[in-house]
């Protein structure tokens, strides 16, 4: 054990022995990349099939607090990028992981983050093959920021696109909405709410594979992260040039999340998720899609929330409890808790 420090210092970013020790002991010993070259050298049989396409995506992750019920920044960093690939129909294969670390961050915290990234990568069937670390002065970052890029392969014949959604298609979610957003607010602890809400943070790769195997005509899927399900639906309605109508009574919500939204005047449709997707399938395949989703862990709570309509293009509406209708618009700015 060459690394004796309890906290990261600027020396760990200096390019010398301290940096090497940090990288080897905390990162590469766990991720175990194939080699220690400055690049990952990769081969995939999946890519050899005629018509197969490469998919690539990247995302940066900042979250306060970095550890919360149901996950941590590492788990999100793997799940988020894996999910961006999966909802596009790609089979995720490889990830990169880059860390911007604030001086003074506990090394034990980094180890926990790395361990949870490894565990999530194994669960999702991806490998973390390359990475980078930078150390910045105290106050220049908030503990640790993580950026992951992901590469996957889209098998021949798959073509998921929001633009393919047609009136009559059914909208399905895989489980309860808004848990991540609510979990983070509760975990910040500045609201004196005692609710322990776990984040929904989870990989969706296996779920997408199960659905695509059962329903070859899945039109599109979206990972409902920032801006929540409302934003995902608005994006789809706009791209498809159709309307979308959802049913308030059909929305799956955890009681604690509902209660928190009531108290703070927030709308759960806009709360962030980190393991929730919205899927559009032709009506004839809806039952098969539901059954396939429910067969995997991430889809146990799968349920239909609405459908695409021939209504005004780009317009998302919700039938309220009482049979009234209201527009579900894109979020303006961010949701702010109200006064009274």
């Amino acid at each position: 054990m060459a690394l004796r420090d309890e906290r990261v210092t600027l020396a760990h970013g200096g390019g010398g022995k301290a940096m090497r020790d940090l990288i080897e002991e905390v990162f590469t010993s766990v991720f175990q990349p194939d080699g220690m070259e400055d690049q990952a050298r990769l081969v995939s049989e999946a890519l050899q099939q005629p018509g197969a396409r490469l998919a690539m995506t990247t995302d940066s992750f900042v979250v306060d607090p970095v550890e919360f019920p149901g996950g941590d920044i590492g788990k999100i960093a793997v799940c988020g990028t894996v999910n961006d690939l999966a909802v596009g129909g790609a089979r995720p294969l490889w990830l990169s992981a880059a860390f911007i670390i604030e001086e003074g961050t506990e090394i034990a915290l980094l180890r926990r983050i790395v361990a949870s990234m490894k565990a999530e990568a194994v669960a999702a069937g991806v490998r973390i093959v390359t990475g980078d670390t930078k150390v910045v002065g105290r106050g220049s970052a908030d503990k640790v920021f993580v950026t992951t890029a992901g590469v996957g392969v889209i098998p021949p014949g798959r073509d998921l696109m929001a633009g393919h959604v047609r009136p009559g298609d059914v909208a399905i979610v895989n489980g309860v909405l808004g848990d991540h957003g609510a979990a983070i607010m509760a975990a910040r602890g500045d609201m004196a709410l005692s609710a322990e809400i776990p984040s929904d943070c989870q990989g969706l790769g296996h779920l997408m594979e199960a659905v695509l195997a059962a329903c070859p005509n899945v039109r599109a899927a979206r990972d409902a992260t920032r801006g929540g399900v409302a934003s995902a639906l608005n994006e789809i309605a706009e791209a498809a040039g159709c309307g979308i109508e959802i049913e308030e009574t059909a929305l799956p919500l955890r009681t604690e999340v509902k209660g928190m939204c009531e108290i703070l005047g927030l709308d759960p449709l806009y709360l962030a998720n980190e393991g929730t997707l919205v899927l559009f399938v032709p009506e004839a395949e809806a039952e098969a899609a539901l059954a396939a989703m429910r067969s995997v862990k991430a889809g146990q709570g799968a349920t239909i929330i609405g459908k695409a309509t021939g209504g005004q293009a780009g317009r998302v509406t919700m039938r309220t409890l009482f049979g009234g209708a209201r527009i579900v618009d894109m979020l303006v700015g961010e949701q702010l808790p109200r006064i009274c």
Partner: protein, 380 residues
Amino acid sequence: MKYADEFRDPKAAKALLAKIGAVVDQIGATAEKPVHIMEICGGHTHAIFRYGLDKLTPAGIEFIHGPGCPVCVLPMARVDECVQIAERPEVIFTTFGDAMRVPGTRKSLMQAKADGADIRMVYSPLDALELARRNPDREVVFFGLGFETTTPSTAFSIQQAAREGLTNFSVFCNHITVPPPIKALLDDPHMVLDGFVGPGHVSMVIGVHPYDFIPRDYGKPIIVAGFEPLDLLQSVLMVLEQIRDGRAEVENQYARVVPEHGNPASIAAIADVYEPRPSFEWRGLGEIEESGLRIRPAYAAYDAEEKFGIGYAAGPRVVEEIEGCECGAVMTGRMKPVHCPQFGKGCTPEMPLGALMVSSEGACAAYYQYGGARAVEPAE
């Protein structure tokens, strides 16, 4: 969800809507000659749109959206004063979240924060008090904002600060009271109101009697109402029944929460810490006599206006006019939000011009967000 779902039951709503329809017919109200009911509180406005109650109730009822959203009626000059205080280097300025976006003449608090001011969102003035304890070398200012619902908690925080002898805590007081603007609206010769739905949580603090003048002096009914859709529908029914029967009374629909005489401890704290200002400015309505509260001289050490020589403490004020903004006409029921020439054009939730577009509980923002503004195809 217990204690909420019971008040959102569609079956019960249907029964109430049928009764409402029958009374509207008995009164003879129609789309051309509607009954005008003002829901005073922004929370009610929000609930009406959120549950689509405006579309479910008969055309013979027209909702007029009142001035009961404290963020909406906050004048631009006060936002400017907030920014002025917040930009002082020694100040940590604390505020409720939804006041962050309210535009001032130069900038909002959100913009001031981006420009480097130390502005922090809190959920209670007690959080601001805790910040003051932990930062003895900084001046912590709490943005006191809201009606009788939030006034007591600010009062308690000032009393607590006084007990602890804290010298680095103060409140920029913008607390306002509900009855005076109602009186101002009733005195307006253009006013068309037939009855009121009153804010239940305000009465939880002050009781129901501060509204006695409405039936007594103006002959209009008022129902103190809860915030769930069934509360609102039942309150609308109660207003209509009074109109049909030629009665004008204060009635309490929200008796499960509202005691007749309010909350004595809160009332005492308010009386101890605050006194009425001679006059206070409301965005869209102008100066209204005795409609705002200021901190009593005994607690002057905790009054940010006194501490920083700002606001009403700085001398006479000029009420600004926003060009082309019809918030005043909307709030007095003379104009629907959609008929304002600026609605959705010069004035949107992204770039609000007038008070009612600012907060999610403002009438114009609710219209815009929930589609009262833009045609929603009826559900089949």
